[in-house]
Amino acid sequence: MRHHAHHFASAEAEFEASKQGMWVFLVTEVLMFGGLLVGYGIFRNLYPEAFHEAHKHLAVSLGAINTVFLISSSVTMALAVTYTQMGKRVAASCSLIGTLTLAFSFLCVKYVEYSHKFHDGLLPAGYFTNTELKLPEAPLFFSLYFMTTGLHMLHVLIGMGLLIWILRRTWSGELSSGYCTPTELVGFYWHFVDLVWIFLFPLLYLVG
């Protein structure tokens, strides 16, 4: 059992503190993504027809597949936490590997989508060269599309880094039923990344 940090009364207190620290950190993440979505909300209401027109150029199918990937990666992450708490090292590691592969496939689909957009010239406003979309404000939709999904993809990458770090420690047995704070906290972070996508997908792809 890892000896708890010297300035905490008990391991329990330290876990509670770290968990609350994680929640406060998630507040800052919510406000960062939220700020971006406020920008999107304002522009969508300022130029509804341009944005509606532009959103038709998004591949809803690819978006849906990505949503399925991320939700199932949330499920495997929750499984990983459960198995770690139950002390099942192998099962937890497999779940973590499952989460990583789902995340990787999310990135691959993302790559396909982005290259499709680049090809069609549906780029942020300054570089927008598409000819079909006539409305002047349509390029702004793609600016916001690339900023939101880009920032989200960056968070997925960070998440994968964390997952690899947790996988290593789970596989080595350091994280097990006795001490699994890092697993839970990375679990929080991963579920949050999935949460953001749960809002991004309908806002950008379905409703537009």
């Binding site: 609350q20 950190f25 406000l31 993504f33 942020p124 570089y127 002047p136 900023m147």
Partner: protein, 531 residues
């Protein structure tokens, strides 16, 4: 148990997890950046003396006031009191051994330094202009390396978030047994409210800066009118952080003043609950008033009406605090040591700053006064008069705790009076200049403004001398100051119940709080230091 300064060698400082050492490192870095920003200010004032020959070319002048603003705000007064004094004092005042996440605390300092290096590196390239507000579309068009300053501010923002996170969790989880919420010292209440603002506002600054960087690099065009964006929307994003940021700057200073005045009046704080809750009042109202910065920006009239009305309510909690501090001194036994001098300086300057804030909150007045020297004077009165005076009061108040030594009171008085008089001579004429319509950020001004600008420049020399003198006697005190004993001011808060300088673990035996930290008995009028 050896005190925290015992371990020697650079490695012991750079890899320390001790909140006290991190606090000192913050204090030293903040003082260096304050001097750098101060030098820019003195040169600006020298240029504005206006004896015909130009000290600075137009572009140089624009870059000087941009760097003065950006350095002073992002690298001095926002990290200032929380980073330096907060890191040092909060854990001891709580009765804890350290902050909740020491490693995160050290990371926050390094992230702050990386951000500072990014911002400062622009100095050696093509500089940056556009003021610290970086309004679009100018900040998108200019070809100065403003990108570096933006990245610097973005990185420094994360350091501010991590410090706030540390403080919130420490206050929640690490209070000494017996320290209930209504026995929490007011400095901690202030830091708690400040941390909440930092957590809720700084991420929006982060996304604003990311968007502005994306404007310059990827031309996303949402703030660029040429590509269909709306520059006023940038101002909304910017001020949604920057107005709460001015409360991030002032609340910790108010916390220091709430600690200093009762100790040096030897009397309980007047209206403890009112002051504690007004910190929260300010923290909440801080988020709904930002539009008063944009009255003439092209904002809708309804927004002007709403923001001006809401801004009026900010003055109420601030008024409660000021009146309570003066109430604390009533029937006290007042010792005029340096911390008290700076606290009184704070009261004088902040009252002027606060009252002129009400002018600017009134719609009609703001139309004429915004973007003139009236605003420059107002925010210097509240930022320098408030935050810097609070920082100096805190530094002098906890100097014995940090170093175990005493500075010379006579020298402190000299530098205090030089700064106070210099400050008033510098900035009060600027109210008049603003009323007469001299716009801010002007490289050349019309001849009729020359006289007041010259008076203002002379005043700035006194401020310069004051801080120079402060550096000298502080350095002298660190090396040769008389031993101060563990509680020179005979204060009741926890940090004075341990030795000065405190041991690495802060307390020999874990403290238990038994009563209110401001319960000064009527006969408790003497201080250890003046025996």
């Amino acid at each position: 148990m050896s005190n925290y300064l015992a371990a020697k060698g650079l490695r012991s400082w750079l890899t320390t997890l001790d909140h006290k050492r991190i606090g000192l490192m913050y204090l030293f870095s903040i003082f260096v950046f304050f001097l750098l920003g101060g030098i820019f200010a003195l040169i600006l004032r020298l240029h504005l003396f206006g004896w015909g020959k130009d000290l600075l070319s137009a572009d140089m002048y624009n870059q000087f006031f941009t760097f003065h603003g950006a350095i002073m705000i992002f690298l001095v007064i926002i990290p200032g009191i929380p980073g330096a004094l907060g890191n040092f004092i909060l854990p001891i005042m709580l009765g804890a051994k350290d902050v909740a996440f020491p490693r995160l605390n050290l990371a926050s300092y390094y992230i702050f330094m990386v951000g500072a290096i990014f911002a400062a590196s622009a100095l050696f390239l093509r500089g940056a202009d556009g003021g610290w507000t970086f309004y679009t579309p100018y900040s998108i068009r200019t070809n100065t390396t403003v990108l570096l300053v933006l990245t610097g501010a973005l990185i420094a923002g994360f350091s501010s978030i991590l410090t706030a996170l540390n403080f919130i969790i420490s206050i929640h989880k690490l209070r000494a047994p017996g320290m209930t919420w209504d026995r929490l010292p007011l400095f901690l209440w202030a830091l708690y409210a400040t941390s909440i603002i930092q957590i809720l506002a700084t991420p929006v600054l982060a996304i604003t800066l990311v968007l502005l960087i994306a404007e310059r690099v990827l031309q996303i065009g949402i703030f660029d009118p040429k590509l269909g964006g709306d520059p006023i929307l940038f101002q909304h994003f910017f001020w949604f952080y920057s107005h709460p940021a001015v409360y991030i700057m002032i609340l910790p200073a108010m916390g220091v003043i709430s600690e200093v005045i009762p100790v040096f009046s030897r009397k309980p704080i007047f209206g403890y609950k009112a002051i504690a809750y007004s910190s929260f009042g300010i923290a909440l109202i801080a988020f709904i008033v930002w539009g008063h910065h944009m009255v003439v920006s092209g904002q809708s009239e309804l927004a002007n009406f709403l923001f001006s009305l809401l801004t009026m309510f900010v003055a109420v909690p601030t008024g409660i605090k000021v009146f309570s501090w003066v109430g604390t001194m009533y029937r006290g036994s007042i010792h005029l040591y340096a911390p008290m001098l700076y606290a009184l300086g704070f009261l004088e300057l902040f009252t002027i700053g606060g009252l002129t804030g009400i002018f600017l909150a009134t719609l009609a007045i703001d139309v004429h006064m915004t973007d003139t020297y009236f605003v420059v004077a107002h925010f210097h009165y509240v930022m320098v008069g408030g935050t810097i005076m609070g920082l100096l009061a805190g530094v002098h108040y906890w100097f014995p705790k940090m170093t175990g030594r005493l500075y010379s009171e006579r020298d402190a008085a000299i530098s205090f009076w030089s700064i106070l008089i210099g400050f008033n001579v510098t900035f009060f004429p600027q109210f008049i200049l603003g009323a007469q319509g001299m716009p801010r950020r002007y490289w050349h001004y019309l001849p009729e403004y020359t006289m007041l600008n010259r008076v203002s420049t002379v005043g700035s020399w006194f401020i310069g001398f004051g801080f120079l003198y402060l550096m000298i006697y502080m350095w002298k005190a660190v090396r040769y100051g008389k031993a101060s004993g563990s509680n020179p001011w005979s204060a009741l808060t926890l940090e004075w119940q341990t030795s000065s300088p405190p041991p690495t673990e802060n307390f020999e035996i874990d403290p238990v709080v038994t009563d209110w930290p401001y319960a000064y008995a009527p006969d408790n009028v003497h201080m250890a230091v003046n025996k």
